[in-house]
Symmetry: C2
Subunit: 250 residues, 2 copies
């Protein structure tokens, strides 16, 4: 069944109003009719099967029929801190990372980031990333839309890191040295409810200086297997492995 996140202001008891793009999606793309069912989520854990009772001009009114249980969130909260990559790779990372269970995305300007975050376009760009996260969260049946933070500096990353118990860096120099144990060891120290911060460099990788600084701040520099992964593949590897470790290993 099609899912839509609806902001809490649009829930009034067992009536929900769907607006803007989602309303258009229901009426124009899915061509749904009065009587059809969808699932509405409030981004706070509530999900309800709802029946369409009115298709207006630009809004859709639905009636809650039944709340449903959703357990699609990772038992640990994973933040992907991504050195700003080129072109549309950040969009790719947000889309696939949302499917794979990330809670927060934090893009940062790394020493070797060729791409710059254009302040003039920043608002639009972030809105676009938030839209991608929302749609991917709907499609993958997440309970919550991951947050996309405003891009920051390396110092902002160090400040952010203070809140995290497990801090991991994907570092290709370690992969070349056949470092194969730290990632799993770090995950082994985690339990349900923990927060994990994963740092990934941009295309050229993290600089020696950044890596040293992260190490001094309690980060584990990890190889992700013996192959060299692209900047946009490393976060997907980390999220998949974290899911496997905490959700499937049993």
């Amino acid at each position: 069944m099609q899912r839509y996140f609806v902001t809490s202001e649009d829930w009034r008891g067992d009536r929900v109003t769907i607006r803007d793009e989602d309303a258009k999606h229901i009426s124009k793309v899915m061509r749904m009719q009065v009587g059809d069912n969808i699932i509405c989520c409030d981004n706070n854990g509530r999900a309800s099967v709802c029946e369409i009772i009115d298709l207006g001009a630009g809004t859709v009114e639905v009636q809650v029929i039944q709340d449903v249980e959703m357990h699609a969130e990772m038992p640990v909260k994973v933040t992907i801190a991504q050195g700003l990559p080129k072109s549309d790779k950040l969009e790719f990372i947000v889309q696939k990372g949302t499917e794979l269970g990330a809670s927060i995305f934090f893009p940062f300007s790394a020493d070797r980031s060729v791409a710059k975050w254009d302040d003039k376009k920043a608002v639009k760009k972030r809105e676009r990333l938030e839209k991608i996260a929302k749609e991917a969260a709907e499609q993958s049946h997440r309970n919550k839309i991951p947050e996309v933070l405003t891009p920051g500096t390396f110092s902002d990353l160090l400040k952010l890191a203070q809140q995290y118990k497990i801090k991991i860096v994907a570092f290709e120099e370690e992969a070349k040295q056949q470092e194969l144990t730290r990632f799993a060891s770090a995950l082994n120290t985690g339990t349900e409810g923990d927060s994990i911060l994963c740092v990934i460099g941009p295309e050229g990788g993290l600089s020696e200086q950044e890596a040293t600084c992260l190490k001094e701040h309690g980060f584990q520099l990890c190889g992700l297997g013996p192959r060299i992964l692209r900047t946009e593949t490393a976060p997907l590897y980390m999220l998949s492995a974290i899911s496997y470790h905490f959700e499937l290993k049993g």
Copy 2:
């Protein structure tokens, strides 16, 4: 250092000839000169640091300086059998799947495959996928270029499956049922040298009939965590988890 796979016919003792696109890449894109070093790989496990001794018209001659050790292959051989997806998703899967260590890609026409493999364009299309696999193997420092098989039918998949010890199906109906143990259980039965066949449906998923048939043929129908993954994300999850299981867990 830049890597190139060179077919065995172009290795003569400690002299190697590089041709066509790779030669162009060396001279035009990388703008390398006589005296510069590259790594040549023979797709059979040999990798050698080589010095450029001649830049000709369309060919580059290099001299082997020193063989280097490479251990970038998975301890298990993973085949990704992918229900034909739409648009350029197969290219995406081959590129990222190569980085993540897949050995073989086998696209097959599934009941719900909207995309058809156009026989007229088949040769060109497969050449393009092979080129993507070669470039991704070079970039990720693989010892071997994964094979891209000619697309087949569901019956071809069942024939292929006879050669595999571990047979896994990513099945979203199981994810919805919160099936969370079979994937890890299946991997736990594996050891170094084993072959693993991973089957992923196209956009609409596998049909009930296909799933039942695979089950009857000894496949494990597995959930990959509680979120619903897109057809192109599921193989990346499986490969990452297999790498984590066999290469990192220790």
